[in-house]
Symmetry: C2
């Protein structure tokens, strides 16, 4: 199967699973237990179904299939991970955080539903991710332990020593003097942790051994850091004329970036080295890794 | 053992467990994995250790002991539930929600740490609750299924068809015409769901049968609704002179309350009937329920 077909197949699975887990409801005051009020449900779906490449859930499904795990068992964890990614975007866009009005050309959640409901839609997606993960684990006694460990891998990477730690330090560092240690910490946690999460979760579901898990972790970490450097590079190249002095800050947002810290050339070299390492890490899986290799190459060559 | 001693014993267990799960860290850029950045950790602890009666975790521990379950297994779920309760208070106090500057006589989280960090401290506590629940389940293979079901019970009551649903409808209903169905929904979910959660979680940990679980659920539900009506009554009695017309709204907050909807007398009767039903529900456990009976009587007689 060609790469793009396979990617679409995975995206189809993710979106079908999301639709099953979170269908639009009708009543604002549901009479039965377990039904989400319509307005809250709509706000959650608005951001969860806003498109996007579904990078994280696709990685989870692809890694699970590569390892010979049960794809059926991986669908709910994949959808849950996308809920977690989405809640983090809703909260990131809020006033007091990045205060953005638009994301991917659409109004941000709080611009449509108000700040209060957007906070709750984010909280709701985060909590619902775990609700789904736990329901799913309880419904699969044949792999209860594997699914609990997968949920645990997601929780630890998404949490206060993972993604949330990265967001907190990022926010705390605005308008600070740039510093490579700080920037590396932010990228490792704010970005890379949610890319290693699906790989580790897949390893737990499929019962991968330690060497396989280690290789996946290295693949995800390198890819996550390279992805972030490329993002910064694309920004610089996009407004090269406007950048002016290289102060170690993203001019518009007051945030640190690699190009502004070590220069464009060194950033390009670092990115190249990281992508090479990611490809070497995944190579241990041989031909089974064809999709992962293609996935990395695709991300590596991306344009804004 | 006397009631107050027993209560203090449970509170001691909760606070000791919180301290173990969430000790203050030192570095803002931790070098090791799994360490929470100091500033984020401090913001989480600020609200989690702000005192409070620890009603929900105490209920969990007491119900577990009443059912003959392993108290050791109940401590982490109890602390996790308190993290969830605390995150909901931090987010409730934010601008765009209730926009409060003080809670229990102390500055609210966002007044001390800023809105962005308070959002993240709330997200962090919510995510960390599940991280702890999952770590704990994985560490107890002898009762893995019971602990997963306990976490599931907490997740479903805390979530988008539970507490968050109640918060969302509450927010949506501000300045609306009062309506008994709406008010009952808000109280059942915003308040009662987080009081049934510990009882159901304890039932899962202890492996209670269906009849026991049903009795605990009824106890929690009645107590939760009665608690909320009493809260409204205490508010009315507190500012009886200021209430003016009975519009179905809490004068200050633009929120619906029972006394303003059905009158003070009918609210008192409803509260009495609910407390009586709660006491009948828990009576099926006989003498083992002494603490729960005393607990309900204590809440019933509380003053502002």
């Amino acid at each position: 199967m060609a790469y793009h077909e396979q990617y679409s197949r995975y995206v189809g699975m993710v979106e079908e699973t999301i639709e099953k887990l979170l269908p639009q409801t009708r009543e604002d005051l549901p009479r039965e237990d377990g039904i989400i009020p319509a307005h809250l449900c709509e706000a959650m779906r608005y951001s969860l179904l806003a498109g996007g490449k579904r990078v994280r859930p696709v990685l989870l499904l692809a890694a699970c299939e590569m390892l010979g795990g049960e794809l059926e068992q991986a669908k709910v964890p994949a959808a849950a991970l996308e809920m977690i990614h989405t809640y983090s975007l809703i909260h990131d866009d809020l006033p007091g955080m990045d205060d953005d009005d638009y994301r991917r050309g659409r109004l941000t959640n709080h611009k449509v539903y108000g700040v209060g409901q957007a906070i709750l839609a984010g909280d709701g997606l985060l909590n619902y991710a775990y609700e789904c993960l736990l329901d799913h684990a309880a419904a699969h006694p044949e792999n209860l332990r594997g699914l609990v460990l997968a949920a645990q891998a997601i929780a630890s990477r998404a949490g206060v020593s993972g993604m949330i730690a990265g967001q907190s330090i990022d926010l705390l560092s605005e308008h600070m003097q740039p510093d490579a240690g700080r920037l590396a910490y932010i990228h490792a946690h704010k970005t890379a942790d949610l890319l290693t999460a699906p790989l580790l979760a897949a390893a737990c579901i499929a019962g991968a051994d330690e060497a396989q898990t280690e290789a996946l972790l290295r693949f995800g970490r390198c890819m996550g850091l390279a992805f972030q450097i490329d993002d910064d590079l694309l920004d610089v190249e996009g407004d090269a004329g406007q950048l002016g002095k290289q102060t170690g800050m993203d001019a518009q947002r007051g945030k640190m970036t690699w190009p502004s810290l070590v220069g464009v050339q060194a950033s390009r070299e670092k990115s190249r080295a990281l992508w090479d390492e990611a490809e070497r890490a995944i190579a241990v899986f041989g031909e089974c890794a064809w999709f992962m290799q293609a996935f990395a190459q695709q991300l590596r060559g991306r344009k804004k």
